[in-house]
Amino acid sequence: MSLSSIVAHITALPVATPLGTAAVLAALNKFLPRRMADTLAILATLVTLFTETLLLYSVRSQPFVYWYGGWAPRSGAALGICFVIDPLSCALAMLISVLVLVAFVFSLRYFDSIGTMFHVLVLGFLAAMSGFAFTGDLFNLFVFFELMSASAFALCGYKNEETTAQQGALNFAITNTIGAFLVLCGIAMLYSRTGALNMAQIGRALGQQSDATVITAFVFLLVGFYVKAAIFPFHFWLADAHAVAPTPVCILLSGIMVQLGVYAVARVYWAIMAGPFAAHRGALMSLLLVIGTITSLLGAIMCFGQRHLKRLLAFSTISHTGLLVIGFALLDPHALSGVALYVAGHGLVKASLFIGAGILLHRYGSVDELELRGRAQRHHFSGIVFLLGALGLAGVPPNLTFLGEHAIDHAATLVHQDWIPVIFAFSGAITSAAVLRVYGRVYLGWGDRESLRTGKQIPEERETAGPHHRIPAVMILPAFLMVIAALGLTLTPKLRRAAETGAFTMADTAAYQSRVLDGAHLPNTFAPPGQTALTPTLISTSCAIVFGLLLAAWSLSPLWPKQDVIVRPFKLVMGGLRSLHSGHVGDYVAFLTLGAAAIGIVLGLLIRRFGM
């Protein structure tokens, strides 16, 4: 027996282990001491991570398909549910496990003991995200989507003393539930057309036909998943939810859950829609490029206008997810490999930045930039997280984000979209400027207390118990390890190559379909070798960090215009953007409806009327 045939047997473990452990923890809720629950939860996460590492190792040359209940397809028709294990899904699942591990380690010092419920929910979240990454069945994707939502809603409202947390969670829950219904409608339409739920089978049954049903179904799936990914105009819930969730939950929401929405659309596109949209790539590409660009710019501008640290980071997540959509919009495997690298780099960096915010909350009882001014002057050590994080957000080499951006830039020049590096530079500059400004004000005591009255001030209570005069190692260490990993992984040889292999394998629709439906043993698809110029990306990222530094310095200097003398148009724009983010769930749902309708109409018109 070869290694891969042994490893195939453990495919179910990334879902079964966390769920089984969660069940045990819930059943023994009242009897288990806190430390025991911590240990069990961390052990389960480690087992999951180890399994996924083995899986990744075994698919380095050839992906495999795992059928639950042993129901292999018959003459091209799937009867059961399958997991498709390929390099990219394994790597994604590993990233998920790593972040969950970090969340558990961080929460070792978490406040009031409420039994094991926190652990149970996070383990459920882990199982949902792993299943979401692996599954090859459209309805199963929906089930894990909902499982992810159910755990995330509860985790988000964890601090039930704070009314803002409850409101944020409520907005999150309502918009995401409507997104889930849209996904389900899309699935129903595809099922009615093809009589299949397996993605490969749907893709094969659709072939090249792209009629109204297929387009609408794809629009519904896209919108549903992009609600989760917080893409404009569906992004409103994210800042509300992330600003108020407990820090370990923020790590998971911002670090990986949001990006899974982008992943789901990419998976659906390459497994199902690559055929129907083969003749209409131009239409889809222009639509998604526009959406991604708006999201990215909007997120960056809103990010800079915040004083609440977690809300600031949340808007930065929106901005970077927009960049991911731009990468995906190129519909090219090179760009997809870039997106994968960018997800990893951003996940690690953003998680450590949230930990940085959590440390400030632990140490000084606040995450308000102005209140914190100069208070951390003697703790430069933890400030390094913010510095390195800002470099990561700007994509400065040797960060993983730099590698990702490079691959995306390369793909962009192939299709003559040369403006994309500019967007990357802009978003990188603004978001890193915001983080650098926080560093300058909090750790160096620069700037004054008055210059940033605009942002929302949300009271936030301490989350941690115990002595507050020092920072526990379980908080600071993971943050450092992650920012260093984001730097160090870039230096591992062949990482770029491995990502390309993963992306080309995922994007090889025909091979995917025959692997799943015909049981064919096909090796990974390898990218054609070739060197690409680093120059555009180097220029873009150095612009980003230089402008970021300048902007941060300017905003902390006395030269920064006071609120009342800000130029009128800018004030109007900012005011308008702010009032859009009203915190009113009715507005959010109205925008969701408008967005879904607009995307449907634009895509339909582009394809039907203009023949793109």
């Binding site: 179910a12 199982a127 607009a598 339909g604």
Partner: protein
């Protein structure tokens, strides 16, 4: 946005959205002409392969059993989530000392007592008499899932109703005793764990997670369809535990005073 503007803004959007939806629907196969193949294949093979006469149950617990594991986990997570969200806040538990608060408490108890009339004896007897049949019926639905409509989920919900009846009969003490959190949580966890365990046994015995590992039995008998029956029972446990806890958590919200007073004596 003010409410008026929001309404008009939404109405315009939703008309467009309806248009997109309808445009997508008009290309669907006409109503009443299901074309298959997924459902038709299963309708043909499920009875022979699984010895289950209810194909829906065979799909839920065998062909697409993994979905059901996810579905039960959704229920499980949201029950845990609900009890997490509705756990007593600090300020609610802290205000029991001090004279003023005590008289406040008395006031609240008084209004509570005025609102909830005691159940009459006849109503109590009738309600409690339903408990036994309901348990039998719920169990029947759970165990006959593979034969007739119904199964672990529907039966599980029915099995969750007797504690509610006990409460309706006005017997708070018994209600509290049979809905002890430890037990309810244990039943719920056992259900989910049982599901995972059956799946893992399938992995070790049969070769794939959730693979059938029992003899299929005689088509049409209660003990048939292999693991389907086991998974039905596990689901029944998880669902009944989950719903009892859900009802308990919500009831507790309205009855905080009552339970606190009775528990204190």
């Amino acid at each position: 946005m003010n409410p008026r503007f929001r309404r008009y803004f939404f109405l315009i959007s939703v008309v467009a959205f309806f248009g997109v939806f309808a445009w997508g629907l008009h290309d669907l196969p006409p109503f009443g002409h299901y074309r298959g193949p997924y459902g038709d294949i299963l309708n043909h093979v499920a009875v022979y392969e699984r010895h289950a006469t209810d194909v829906v149950t065979a799909v839920n617990f065998d062909y697409r059993g993994f979905d059901t594991l996810g579905e039960e986990s959704i229920l499980f997570m949201s029950v845990i989530g609900t009890s997490l969200l509705l756990r007593p806040q600090k300020k609610e538990t802290d205000n029991n000392d001090g004279k003023a608060d005590n008289s406040l408490q008395r006031d609240l108890d008084e209004s509570e007592r005025r609102r909830a009339p005691a159940a009459s004896d006849a109503a109590r007897v009738l309600t409690l008499a339903l408990v036994g049949p309901l348990i039998v019926f719920g169990w029947y639905i759970v165990t006959h899932g593979q034969l007739t409509p119904g199964g672990g989920f529907q039966g599980g919900v029915i099995l969750a109703t007797p504690p509610l009846l006990v409460y309706l009969a006005g017997d708070l003490k018994t209600f509290k005793r049979i809905t002890r959190q430890e037990w309810v949580e244990a039943i719920e966890g056992a259900g989910i764990f049982g599901f995972v365990l059956v799946g893992l046994l399938g992995l070790f015995v049969g070769g794939a997670f959730l693979q059938n590992l029992l003899p299929l039995g005689q088509t049409g008998s209660v003990i048939s369809a292999g693991t389907v029956a086991l998974l039905n029972i596990a689901t029944g446990l998880a669902v009944s535990g989950g719903f009892v806890q859900l009802i308990y958590v919500f009831l507790e919200q309205t009855l905080e005073v009552k339970l606190r007073v009775q528990g204190g004596k």
